[in-house]
């Protein structure tokens, strides 16, 4: 019981640290990393609710985590490709820089 709660709260903390990073960090790469940390928190939480005392763990959250990990990998790869494209096209690495460049072009 205590073990489950420690893992669940660990997952919640990871999720919130990731959320803070996602909002507070400006660099897009850090935002992608923060998003991954949030995902890690969700997976930890899902695995912890699968714990079922001494019995066999609940397979449904496990299957969801397995699916989630693969989707995270592919989404991260796509996000990184987008970031590289933005960076090579505009030289910007933050959303603020992008907006600034766009308004410079307009003005």
């Amino acid at each position: 019981m205590t073990q489950e709660i420690i893992y669940s709260i660990g997952g919640v903390l990871l999720f919130c640290i990731g959320l803070y990073g996602l909002i507070a960090c400006e660099h897009l790469f850090r935002k992608i990393l923060s998003f991954n940390i949030m995902g890690g928190g969700v997976f930890l939480f899902l695995v912890s609710i699968a714990l079922n005392g001494d019995n066999t763990p609940d397979p449904v959250p496990h299957a969801m985590v397995l699916t989630g990990i693969v989707v995270t990998v592919s989404a991260t790869a796509f996000a990184l490709a987008l970031l590289r494209r933005i960076n090579s096209g505009t030289g910007a690495e933050t959303l603020g820089r992008l907006e600034q460049d766009a308004s410079d072009l307009d003005g």
């Binding site: 997952g11 909002i23 496990h62 299957a63 397995l66 693969v70 592919s74 490709a81």
Partner: protein, 233 residues
């Protein structure tokens, strides 16, 4: 925090930190108060006999919640297509020389990794393992051979990308066939479920490995023609 940052930004960060801490507190209170014993564990164990496999996670992934896995391989394919579109196949590859030690190590490791991948695939029917783990190991074997400049990787061509779609295609066909016999989508007949799941898993393994490698190499499965420090033979 840097000293020259405007005060507005620092205030924003502090507010964000408070927001995140508050959310953590609320969520922590919620997770300590979760009802117990409401999982689907019992249901999954009960219907395990009809699923065609002995491992409950594999049964959930490929039988009970087959939709998830079908859509997941679809997401993987879409991300490869997205990355390929973005990079336009014009990825600048860093010029690096291949470490001779890595080369020798890879020649020992890659066959072992392929073996482990096959074992994980086979084992998935009765123990933890299956297409995703096997695909990840096989994918990293391909990445390693590419980093070590093994000759095998240089022979990849467009057929390689067709293989990336194999998993989705096979899964979709096997999922649709039951419709012709008046069953539901992804409702395998229990007597064939085992072999059907293994077929899907085998093709998923190949696809996942190739998709992971394609994502690593920037959407293009075709490596650069010149390997500056590569093997000369």
């Amino acid at each position: 925090m840097k000293a020259d940052e405007p005060a507005e930004k620092i205030t924003q960060r502090i507010l964000t930190a408070f927001f995140a801490a508050g959310l953590a507190l609320v969520l922590a209170m919620a997770v300590t108060d979760l009802p117990e014993g409401v999982g689907l564990s019992g249901d999954a164990q009960e219907s395990l006999k009809q699923s065609g496999v002995e491992n409950s996670v594999t049964a959930v992934l490929l039988n009970f919640r087959g939709y998830d896995t079908l859509l997941e391989i679809c997401v993987l394919l879409l991300s490869v297509l997205g990355v390929m579109t973005l990079t336009n196949g014009r990825i600048r590859r860093p010029e690096y020389s291949i470490d001779p030690l890595l080369h020798v190590l890879a020649r020992v490791l890659v066959p072992l990794m392929v073996l482990v991948s096959g074992y994980l695939l086979y084992e998935g029917s009765y123990a933890p393992g299956g297409a995703f783990q096997a695909g990840a190991v096989l994918g990293s074997a391909i990445v390693l051979s590419r980093l070590a400049g093994l000759a095998a990787v240089e022979k990849f061509n467009r057929a390689f990308l067709v293989a990336a779609m194999l998993g989705f295609a096979v899964f979709l066909i096997i999922a649709v066939i039951p419709l012709a016999y008046g069953r539901n989508f992804i409702e395998y007949p229990p007597e064939y479920a085992g072999i059907l799941i293994f077929t899907i898993e085998a093709s998923l393994t190949i696809s996942i490995a190739i998709i992971l490698y394609s994502l690593f190499s920037g959407g293009s499965a075709i490596p650069s023609r010149s390997h500056p420090g590569g093997r000369k033979n």
